[in-house]
């Protein structure tokens, strides 16, 4: 019993001692559209980034994109890919290579003037990619 209490205290101490940092940053929002890149499970995605509050496009950022499956937490790690900035302001392009069809949470990590992560939930199928409205039924209708 005492061991447990000590452990909990130790965890709490460790956590409490963790450094805190500053607040108040620009928040980003993203519009993601993906189309099949010809190869199975490869997709071309266009990401339009904007300041969440002002709606102003966010350009000049280092953008990397990863993905995981919410239905299998931690089990699928798609290697992060660097996105390339497009001519259009705030637009970035990336080619994603996924492991299977289904619903993916696409993580867009921003660095540079803004540090943030935006998550877009998309359903990747063979032919098309759509926004996800999770359906409660397991049979899939």
């Amino acid at each position: 019993m005492r061991t447990i209490v000590c452990t909990l205290v130790a965890i709490a101490a460790l956590l409490a001692g963790y450094p805190q940092a500053a607040h108040g940053q620009v928040r980003a929002k993203a519009a993601v559209t993906c189309v099949s890149a010809g190869q199975v499970l490869e997709y071309d995605c266009t990401i339009k980034l904007a300041n969440a509050r002002s709606g102003e496009p966010l350009s000049g950022l280092t953008v990397s994109v990863g993905a995981d499956m919410p239905s299998m937490p931690g089990m699928h790690n798609v290697r992060r890919v660097k996105a390339t900035e497009q001519a259009e302001k705030g637009a970035y392009h990336v080619r994603l290579e996924l492991e299977m069809h289904g619903d993916w949470a696409v993580h867009i990590d921003l660095r540079g003037a803004v540090r943030d992560r935006v998550v877009a939930m998309l359903r990747f199928e063979e032919a098309e990619v759509t926004d996800v409205k999770p359906s409660p039924s397991r049979r899939g209708h």
Binding site: M100, H101, G102, E125, P136, S137, R138, R139, G140, H141
Partner: protein
């Protein structure tokens, strides 16, 4: 009032398929005292056999049905050979985890063959709902119910009127004593797996033909529904499995009607939980020793 009756009827019809799934589960659980999590996915593999025939060879309804059953039986025996036959006595939990690993395997195999999220499945019948007085009955639901009842009758006859059934019940009652009277338990277990998969195959075919679509998630769906219905009905009881399925169906349809699909699932699990806590033996179950506590 009409709605209540209508929903109850619908629930019975859907519950019939749950009952069949539970029946297959019960047969396997009865002879093995072990949980086969791969039960649903083997049925899903059968369904994919049927879907491939349907999509690529234009097979008719009966051919698809046969393919589903055959596919389920083949993959069922595969699971038995890999996850159950080689496991020593007392390794019930290893069998269960192994069957889960094979579930993952079967699911990925299905996705490799047919990579899309959903595929069409041939409909049982097309046509308008039958009007019986103020009530509506979908003809495919009616066929599903009839099929389920027929199959249940066949299973009941096979269990109580054949030598195979006698041996099966002997193994379910007491595997050692069954050995001692000369039942070849190893062979019987394979046959039981095959029979259970065939039952599951028929159930799966009926459900999918009513849904008219199939996804790899069907495996999980079938395992969960079968498991819930079996536990509500009572472990190791054949009539219990059917009754549990019917009860689950009725509860689901009513709660869906009253509160929507999410609350429907909530209710189903709540009924299961309440049964387990208040009456662990289920509706008609008895206490049998389960080889699952990991020291068994």
């Amino acid at each position: 009032m009409i709605d209540f009756i209508q929903n109850t009827i619908d629930g019975v019809m859907i519950g019939a398929s749950y009952g069949l799934l539970a029946l297959g589960f019960t047969v396997i659980f009865g002879v093995m005292r072990r949980l086969n999590l791969s039960y649903g996915p083997t049925i899903m593999i059968g369904a994919y056999f049927g879907t491939v025939l349907y999509l690529h060879f234009g097979a008719g309804l009966l051919a698809v049905a046969a393919a589903v059953v055959v596919g389920a039986v083949i993959s069922g025996i595969y699971v038995e050979r890999l996850c159950f036959a080689p496991m020593k006595a007392g390794a019930g939990i290893a069998s269960m985890v192994s069957s889960f690993a094979i579930w993952m395997q079967l699911e990925q195999a299905a996705v490799l063959v047919l990579p899309r999220h959903t595929y069409p499945f041939p409909p049982l019948v097309t046509g308008p709902a039958l009007e019986i007085g103020p009530l509506l009955v979908r003809p495919d639901h009616l066929i599903m119910l009839t099929g389920a009842l027929l199959l249940a009758a066949v299973v009941q006859l096979a269990l109580y009127r054949t030598r195979f059934g006698l041996g099966l019940r002997a193994v379910i009652a007491n595997p050692i004593a069954a050995n001692l009277v000369g039942v070849d338990v190893g062979r019987l277990v394979v046959l039981a797996f095959a029979a259970a998969s065939a039952i599951g195959g028929v159930a799966g075919f009926l459900v999918l033909a009513v849904d008219q679509q199939v996804t790899p998630m069907f495996g999980m769906w079938a395992t969960l529904k079968g498991l819930i219905a079996m536990m509500i009905g009572g472990l190791g009881s054949i009539p219990g499995a059917l009754l549990g399925g019917l009860l689950l169906g009725v509860v689901e349809v009513h709660s869906h009607w009253l509160f929507g699909p999410q609350v429907r699932d909530l209710f189903a699990y709540f009924v299961l939980f309440a049964f387990l806590v208040a009456r662990p033996g289920g509706l008609l179950g008895r206490t049998i020793d389960v080889e699952l506590s990991h020291r068994a």
